[in-house]
Point group: C2
């Protein structure tokens, strides 16, 4: 903050000096008063635009990052579409039986899918699978 004010002051002083120089050398004799004032106005407006954000504390907006599926990991681990589907339902807290009913297949199929998933995720329990899948951004 202190540093910022110093920089700001320095730039301001520099600008004033520049103006003085310009004033006595070239402009006053050749230009009308209006143009001279206009130049000053533009210069200091630009200065304000530049210095404003540096003087005023930046507002940090905390936002929950939207979920983006990590498709690269899906491919890398060789997780199929169906397996991913089962993974999502499992992570939502459904039992194998419930998942089977939702997907219109038998429980055995779900168990097979989950077995394969556990192998691919290198885990041995569904709670671990949820952990890992969240880390890898396979599920929200």
């Amino acid at each position: 903050m202190t540093r910022t004010v110093l920089i700001y002051g320095g730039v301001l002083a520099l600008l004033v000096a520049l103006l003085k120089y310009v004033e006595y050398r070239f402009l006053v004799r050749d230009m009308s008063m209006e143009i001279y004032i206009g130049i000053i106005a533009v210069l200091f407006t630009v200065l304000g635009i530049w210095a404003g954000p540096r003087l005023i504390k930046r507002r940090v907006i905390v936002v929950n990052p939207a979920f983006v599926l990590n498709e690269e990991a899906l491919v890398r681990l060789g997780i199929s579409k169906r397996e991913h589907e089962v993974l999502e339902l499992m992570a939502q807290g459904h039992s194998n039986q419930e998942i089977a009913e939702k997907l219109f297949v038998s429980v055995n199929t779900i168990k097979t899918h989950l077995s394969n998933l556990f192998l691919k995720l290198e885990v041995s329990r569904r709670t671990q699978a949820i952990q890992k899948a969240k880390e890898l951004r396979l599920i929200p």
Copy 2:
């Protein structure tokens, strides 16, 4: 954006008009040139500070909100310290046996804690418990 530019232009025009007014009525006769220029500089610096952030696109910084334990929910649901501890370990993917070893108690104790937790969280599976506990911000 278009609206912002219009406002900006309007304010600028207003300021110029004000300056003209001031110039011809009071100041030029009484003040030195330096002070007059100084006032212009200050005015347009302020204008720049005000208009800058409105002209330049605001940068939104996306940050993962830090985890804040919802103690109110803990009290409301009557979840004890030990139960919360077990809940955390469970959510990390540990089996009852593993949790028991980590806390130096028997598996039966862990099972009792989890049974009570399931009652308090109104769930019937550990995966559901994880879901609900995350929703309630009882665990990260």
